[in-house]
Amino acid sequence: MSTDLHEHDDRAGLAALAGLVSHTTTQHIPTLYAPASGNEITAGLFFRVGRADETLATAGLTHLVEHLALHRLGLSDLHYNGATANAYTLFHVTGSEEEVVKYLNSVCAGLRDLPMERLETEKEILRTEAAGRGNGPQHQMPLWRYGAQGYGLSSYNELGTWSLTPDQVRHWAETRFTRDNAVLWITSDRVPDGLDLTLPQGTRFPAPAATGALPRTPAFISGDDGHVVLTSVLRRSTAASVFADVLGRALFKDLRQEGGYSYSAEADYTPRDADFATLTAYADSLPQKQDAVVGGFVDTLARLRAGRIEQSELDSARAKLLKMYDTPDLAAAALPSYALSLLLGHRILTPEQHRAELNAVTTDDLRQVARETWDNALLQVPGRGVDWAGLTLAPQHSQAALTGTRHQSLEDEEVTLVIGAEGVSLLTPRGPVTVRYDACSAMTARPDGARTLTGHDGFSVTVEPTLYRGVTPERVAALDAAVPAGAVVRMPARQPDHIPQPRKRTSGPRSAGNGRSTVGWTVALWLVGLLAAAWGLLCGIITADEASATAPEWDAVTGVWILELPLAFATWKVYAARRQRRRG
């Protein structure tokens, strides 16, 4: 897209805001500004780049640039921060005009000349940040919907924090953090003097296209106890944003107020790109109540889909959304939202237009959104599945297995790893898991030979040379040669005790959970077994003794040995019975 074209688009979008929000360009960066009361001003510099623009192998790249760009501001007292989202990065600051100018200038200076001497430290900081962040109950949802690419990457660790080179980071800053891929907003009646926001020329990147890892929706996956999560993808509309509020209230009423099954029950609507938004609905539950939370969730959605939506539900949600126009500095408060729409290429509505649309939403519109929600839904439930409600289990295995050298698992003889010319497959009794080299998002590589390959579809196979028969350095080298270089993530050596060793399973997979208590049988086995062993020993001694005697009494020897037979038999029977019981 050329610079002229997007400037033309920008102007068309902004025309709607004439009289409310002023706009100009600052060193070629489109700039929106509107005054707010108070002594301080807030400014934000958006770039249209985020996690969804990365690959699994470079995940964390944008975040790293953001951290490096802010580094020189150090420990100043300014109230500032940076944020890396899926489709954008935002640098924002609140302070005096002077402070805001200093901050923005420093960010742009940082972007022009990233402090690369800080690279390894910042990588480590990001890894520490990630370790401390923990995972929310919905963190798996993106990878199941989108796979290990684009909008699915937010489910993953920032793998790039291991392997990104200074060149990669510099290149990312030069191509994505450009004046043509940015929008600036300032809550002021003028653009402050002294701004130096010089950035390289570039192009406006549209938000990445969504990838798909769900062959059928509505779909479901299993998740942890205590949480029910739904996500769906909706076309962005005023009705869809109202619906999210209606859904949140309906869940709260049904699951908390009426049923008492949940403590929190809520819904959220977040724009994903220019045209689509992500709807997320969540309810927690007590362990004994989670069946009812799933059932209630399904029924609440069914009610809204059936169009049994009270006018009062719509009115409450609408009133809440209309309330945001009660704020005194309306235009200033709306600046981030306008700037983001401008950046993503989403239509910009004036307050009047938006109010009119809100007032025009009908319960029938909400019903349509409810149906769209269900049609594209991915539901994460604890415990049993929800196929009974008409949802399809998301794929748990790959469609096909590849051929190649076969390496049996040293832990489970029913599992075989295949390293082939096109990719790797893990063959399990329930189905194969395959990663093709030409659809490999990332392969992590350890010096000890361990490799984890993750496919675009989110399936992953780990090759541990210690856990499979015959995974020689040559086979590992074959993997390294086949996977595209850009997908390889070199990881540091592991502590020797972190390299897995095969654990032979003592019995079938069901033994732990389903087997009944065998304490009595174990005691019996010891008693009978010890008796049999003691008698056997005695038999041996007698035999030896008699054999060395001058006139061996072989009849007596046979006699004692015959007595050993029932003891040995009883031992075997008790052993067999105990094993039987253990298998349940």
């Binding site: 049923g259 099954y261 004994q288 109540k289 989670q290 069946d291 009812a292 799933v294 059932g295 209630g296 399904v298 029924d299 069914a302 009610r303 889909r305 059936a306 049994r308 415990g383 049993r384 196929d387 009974w388 409600a389 008409g390």
Partner: protein, 329 residues
């Protein structure tokens, strides 16, 4: 039908033919429904259902129609032709549940094959998806929620979910005998419940219902389930116990033996539950008023729990009515 006006009065109809065990013999008003259903004549079936004057009758009739082989054929057409009407879809869903349960058979889970389970679950899922829609559109439609208690049980959706469904129903229609009997099954240990929960629920039903309601029979049904689960010997001793007897007696007095009781289609089932439970414990004098009401109108449940239901019924009835001094053939 020779009707009795009051459960306390003796003289229910008896004949030389012995117990009927047939809902249509017991309640001849149902016969036109069966005739129309067997003929596959939806307009007549619909009109008959439209004439029912209580939710209790509606729930009873839905269960009976669903037990008629082949009705799914005309019900599928009717459901497609009247997408807004909850009745044909509910009947169809209930029919699917019956088809599934016939495949599963009533056996304990360990005697049911994997293939039987797969088919069973497939039918229940078909039913459930219809019922989700119906309950979403018509949240007070009792027979749909009652059917969802069966799908919840068969699909093993869990105790909390079954209870939620019952609560949604009872918010609109408290003291629904059919629904209560369904939830009681779920609360028994055989469906992952507990005796505490089963007896507790039965007591809750009996206490919460207005005097003269059938719901007190839940207490009898819970004791019968417990008896069924006990080993031979222990089971008889359990039912002979005075605490069970008193529990049954109190429940009968506030329900079907209460002066406020007005017999309806469920009264026979309730009386049969009490008669059966008292008979198991040899409490003949307490069984007597129930047999007097029943006459020949035995119900399949709970008598199908004993090997020769007909002779058991006759022997029990004889022993019971003899305590009244009056002769009965």
């Amino acid at each position: 039908m020779t009707s009795t006006t009051n459960g306390m009065a003796g003289g229910g109809p008896t004949s030389g033919w012995g117990p009927t065990f047939d809902p249509y013999d017991n309640t001849p008003e149902l016969i036109p429904m069966r005739t129309a259903a067997q003929a596959g004549h939806w307009p007549t079936v619909r009109a008959w259902f439209a004439g029912l004057d209580s939710v209790d009758k509606l729930s009873s009739a839905v269960g009976l129609l669903a037990d008629i082989p082949g009705v799914e054929n005309f019900l599928e057409r009717a459901a497609a032709e009247s997408p807004g009407d909850p009745l044909p879809r509910t009947l169809l869903a209930e029919r699917y549940v019956y088809i599934g349960w016939d495949i599963r058979s009533g056996a304990r889970a360990q005697h049911v094959s994997r293939d039987q389970f797969t088919q069973f679950h497939d039918w229940l899922r078909r039913a459930e998806q219809l019922l989700i829609e119906i309950c979403a559109e018509h949240p007070s439609y009792a027979p749909a929620w009652t059917a969802r208690l069966m799908t919840a049980r068969g699909l093993q959706l869990g105790q909390a979910e079954a209870r939620r469904r019952y609560d949604r129903l009872s918010a609109h229609h408290p003291h629904q005998y059919h629904a209560q009997a369904q939830l009681l099954q779920q609360l028994c240990p055989k469906w992952s419940g507990s005796w505490e929960a089963a007896h507790g629920f039965a007591r809750e039903c009996a206490t919460a219902a207005p005097d003269g309601s059938n719901s007190g029979a839940l207490v009898a049904l819970a004791h019968i389930e417990r008896w069924l689960d006990l080993d031979s010997g222990e089971d008889a001793a359990y039912m002979r116990g005075l605490s069970v007897r008193d529990d049954l007696r109190n429940a009968a007095q506030v329900s079907v033996l209460h002066p406020a009781h007005r017999p309806d289609w469920n009264s026979l089932g309730a009386h049969n539950a009490f008669a059966f439970a008292f008979s198991l414990g040899n409490h003949w004098e307490y069984a007597a008023p129930h047999f007097a009401f029943i006459g020949d109108r035995a119900t399949e449940s709970p008598w199908h729990y004993v090997p020769d239901k007909k002779s058991s019924f006759l022997k029990s009835r004889k022993a019971a009515l003899e305590t009244r001094g009056g002769g009965n053939r």
